[in-house]
């Protein structure tokens, strides 16, 4: 079950193009799209491969492991995120290749660095669904 969180976490807006991905998150599973033609694991999810335009896409369960590609400790922000500052926005490089935008949560801000190993956590959306975030890997 995705866990509750204090961070702004609206129910994601899904569509027939990406429903498999969001359904996976709601079951604590990170499913990624892979092109059956060129093998590319691409991001963001869509029903065709942006590398070769093939429309035959497989979904597979990713490890949920990755490293921080870049990050920013955000101290001032507009809107409803302002009250949650400082918070960490990041690009996480998944072990499967894609670099995905997310947050790093439950982290000691002084320990953050590019290359830090992180793992997926699943945050419950306000009205169902789930959002993919990351936390430093133990050890």
């Amino acid at each position: 079950m995705p866990r509750p969180t204090d961070l702004p976490t609206p129910t994601p807006r899904s569509s027939s193009d990406d429903q498999v991905f969001w359904d996976g998150l709601a079951e604590d599973r990170l499913l990624l799209p892979r092109c059956t033609s060129c093998g590319s694991v691409f991001w963001h999810p869509r029903p065709f491969c942006p590398e070769c335009s093939c429309t035959r896409i497989d979904w597979f369960a990713a490890t949920g492991n990755g490293t921080i590609y870049s990050y920013s400790v955000t101290h001032k922000a507009p809107g409803n995120w302002g009250a949650h500052a400082p918070y960490v926005i990041a690009y996480v490089e998944l072990d499967e290749g894609p670099r995905v935008m997310s947050n790093i949560v439950d982290a000691d801000l002084d320990m953050l660095e590019v290359g830090l190993e992180v793992q997926a956590v699943f945050h419950a959306g306000a009205d169902g669904g789930a959002v993919l975030r990351f936390t430093p890997s133990p050890g």
Binding site: P12, F42, S70, S72
Partner: protein, 386 residues
């Protein structure tokens, strides 16, 4: 087909206002259009092509063309964010070369400082990536901050080096009576200003200003008939950088737009006397200077030290109006003012303290979208009438 010498910039105008609570956005579009046409010695009746981007209220370019009273046989509402107006110059030159128009008017206006957003704006709907990026507190500053962080990681760039870029812009802005931030700042001022999104400080960012600007681009035949000194377009390059999931944050589209522009103009970076570099943030300038080939990739931090960017005698004088960092960033889109200041330099009409001697060839570069992710880069090489 090349657009080298196919068109000239005959008129430019930058709205002097930075805080315009009593203006409307369509009204600013009109004022800047009138200003640029007057600068060229022309009138609205001479215009037969109109170019605008997403800041223009209404339906594409149609609403503003009607509002301005234009009769057009060519229209273009290309939207690549802040770089749109450099793309428009390229497209105007192409249209002029093809005979589709002979006097192109390009306008920009907006009021991010005092509000006044117009109804009936974009009808394009949510972007396909927004479902995947709208959940994490992304804003303009922390998006660029992640690019800065990665550049620091890969190349050892420091906050002090980034600060040198703001210092150079501020030394220029002190001579500009319209600059929003006219005071000279030091490296210490920048790095001691509040962190907005680590590693970017408040003074690493551009200003937020109301205002706008306009350009008039004409055929060589019309340019020859005008009393005004005009500026030939020598080369242009355009690149859209996308990633498909393999995003990298340390290269911009200038990697491609720069060489395309230099090639068309038949010159190299060493020939450039002055540059207008898009400066939404200090990191935007640093990456762009590298990608345009003014130094090796990763050496931008060292390159900008010791006043390299300061006019008139630095190695690469840049943004002599004070740029977006200190002067003006109207409608949150800095591309228009980049072209305007390059034209001023080539005409010898920059503020005297920062006029580059014998400024015969200049480069203007625009950045749109979010740095190094999905972005539109546009490079123009501009010359002087022979």
């Amino acid at each position: 087909m090349s657009i080298r010498n196919a068109a000239h910039i005959a008129g430019v105008f930058e709205h002097p206002g930075r805080h315009l609570p009593d203006h409307t956005v369509p009204g600013i579009h009109f004022e800047v259009a009138a200003g640029a046409l007057a600068d060229a010695g022309m009138t609205f009746a001479d215009v037969d092509g109109y170019f605008c981007a997403g800041d223009a209220p209404g339906f594409g370019g149609l609403s503003m063309a009607e509002h301005l009273g234009l009769t057009c046989r060519h229209i273009d509402s290309t939207e690549t964010g802040g770089s749109s107006y450099l793309v428009h110059v390229q497209h105007a030159a192409e249209a002029i070369a093809a005979g589709h128009c002979s006097v192109a008017l390009i306008t920009l206006a907006g009021k991010p400082r005092t509000g006044g957003a117009q109804p009936g704006g974009s009808a394009r709907g949510a972007s396909p990536e927004s479902s995947f990026e709208g959940l994490f507190g992304l804003n303009v500053v922390n998006g660029y901050a992640m690019a800065a962080r990665r550049h620091m990681h890969e190349f050892g760039t420091t906050s002090e080096q980034l600060a040198e870029i703001k210092v150079a812009a501020s030394t220029h802005a002190q001579h500009n009576p319209n600059a929003y931030l006219p005071n000279v700042v030091t490296v210490e001022d920048v790095v001691n200003s509040p962190l907005v999104a680590d590693p970017l400080h408040r003074l690493d960012a551009c200003v937020i200003t109301d205002g706008g600007g306009a350009l008039v681009v004409v055929s060589p035949e019309i340019a020859a008939s005008l009393d005004r000194h005009t500026v030939p377009v020598l080369g242009s390059g355009l690149a859209i950088k996308t990633a498909g999931g393999r995003i990298d944050l340390t290269h911009t589209g200038a990697v491609w737009s720069g060489p395309a522009a230099f090639s068309e103009a038949g010159i190299t970076p060493a020939d450039i006397k002055y540059v207008s570099i898009y400066d939404s943030f200090t990191i935007t300038v640093l990456q762009t200077i590298e990608d345009l080939g003014f130094c090796e990739k990763g050496d931008g931090g060292r390159f900008v030290m010791e006043g390299a960017l300061q006019a008139p005698h630095g190695r690469l004088p840049f943004n002599t109006d004070g740029g977006g960092l200190c002067n003006n960033h109207p409608a949150n889109r800095g591309g228009m003012t980049k072209v305007v200041e390059a034209v001023r330099q080539l005409r010898g009409e920059a503020n005297p303290a920062v006029q580059v001697p014998d400024c015969s060839i200049a480069l203007a570069h625009g950045t749109g979208g979010s740095l190094a992710t999905r972005m539109g880069s546009a490079t123009l090489i501009l010359g002087r009438e022979s």
